[in-house]
């Protein structure tokens, strides 16, 4: 038992995890002393991101009772990321401007998610943004090849699971922060050209639509 625990512990198994040595982390400056724009253009390698996300999914899967629960938890994790993404992307875009602005209209906010947020998180804008024909309160953001699902193949008995629930959580946090509360879910909608195509479905609360009508 003890030996197997040792194997999992990151401090003892140097083969699996490469941690920076203690001395470098001690000399690192406090977060308040670091410049927020410094890492603006730096990128994270896709394999390490995929590895991290695969660990997140595995970790979450061990602690849930079903697919819905798993999606909900991934959504919650994404929410935590999204609230930070919103704040930092807005900071980087607006800090130097004379009169920093927030998004108060729905459509520009959705466009900002489609381009700015997607670019900040996945390095490219999403592929499409659509308005539902049947329901006025539904919008869809479509990614033809989501980065986080590139190395994930969902088993047949998990039908309906979309790991992009994580992205849905990010979108939900951004909308919530900007004052457009919505329920956001992810759905796998494959086509023959794009087998991993995913639709992020945004269902807005009624109050949002009412407000948009007034602002019109």
């Amino acid at each position: 038992m003890n030996s197997s625990l040792d194997h999992l512990s990151p401090t003892t198994s140097s083969a699996r995890f490469s941690l920076p040595s203690k001395s470098t982390s001690a000399s690192r400056p406090n977060i308040y002393e670091r410049n927020l724009n410094k890492s603006r253009l730096s990128e994270v390698s896709a394999p390490s991101f995929s590895f991290l996300f695969s660990e997140i999914v595995q970790y979450t899967q061990k602690r849930v009772s079903g697919i819905n629960d798993l999606e909900r938890r991934l959504n919650t994790l994404g929410y935590r990321v999204g609230s930070r993404v919103l704040e930092i992307t807005a900071y980087r875009a607006e800090f130097s401007s004379k009169a920093p602005k927030r998004e108060i209209r729905l459509l520009p906010a959705l466009m900002a998610i489609h381009t700015q947020v997607w670019r900040a998180v996945y390095g490219k804008p999403a592929d499409a943004i659509e308005k539902s024909v049947e329901n006025v309160d539904e919008y869809m953001i479509i990614d033809n090849d989501p980065l986080i699902e590139r190395h994930i193949s969902v088993p047949r008995d998990f039908a309906g699971l979309s790991c992009s629930s994580f992205s849905a959580g990010i979108v939900e946090a951004v909308l919530d922060g900007l004052g457009f509360p919505a329920r956001v879910t992810a759905h796998h909608t494959p086509t023959s050209t794009y087998p991993t195509r995913t639709t992020i479905l945004i269902k807005l609360e009624k109050s949002v639509l009412d407000r948009e009508d007034i602002l019109k």
Binding site: N30, Y32, R84, L86, E87, F95, K101, G177
Partner: protein
């Protein structure tokens, strides 16, 4: 001249507050209401009433316990003004897309300015003198510090900000601009 800063989370719970007294002189403001006010020193609510009416120049009352009241500088009056201004802030923030909302509310000698971050966290500042540009610069620095706090994975946006570095840094900015 004092300033009061409150930071409120998206659900309006206070997560940080600061009272800062600058060395700059206070401009004398005379509230028309205060001069017409009768003396209610016998009433239990005298202090609060005087404070609410902005009678900062009237004589200080002392009640049984000898507590100094009145003058519009009472902690609970300040908090009430800040809380009351939230209504005005919420009205304006739906229409105005700027983050910095200058002088959204006024109460006697206090002017309330606010700053809304994209994530709907509100910075509310009570100040006496008009000083728009400096207050904007102050808010921007506080915003930067707030974003940095936010990025910490161990911080969730409902918690009090207890970091002493944050506090020191906000005080430094206050000294610089206010």
């Amino acid at each position: 001249m004092s300033h009061h800063l409150f930071i409120l989370s998206p659900s309006d719970t206070p997560i940080y507050n600061l009272t800062y007294s600058s060395t700059k002189p206070t401009p004398t403001t005379i509230s028309p209401l205060s001069s017409n006010l009768p003396t209610w020193s016998t009433s239990a609510f005298a202090g609060t009433l005087t404070a609410l009416s902005g009678a900062s120049s009237t004589t200080q009352h002392t009640t049984g316990g000898g507590v100094r009241i009145g003058g519009g500088q009472d902690r609970h009056v300040i908090q009430m003004i800040a809380n009351a201004s939230l209504d005005a802030v919420e009205d304006v923030m739906r229409k105005e897309s700027t983050m910095y909302l200058k002088s959204v509310d006024k109460f006697n000698e206090w002017t309330v300015s606010a700053f809304i971050t994209p994530g709907n966290t509100k910075f509310v500042l009570l100040h006496e003198a008009k000083n728009d540009e400096a207050i904007k610069s102050f808010f921007l620095e506080v915003w930067e510090l707030y974003v940095k706090t936010m990025l910490n994975p161990f911080y969730s946006n409902q918690q009090m900000i207890r970091s002493s570095t944050f506090d020191t840094r906000v005080r430094t900015s206050a000294k610089k601009y206010l």
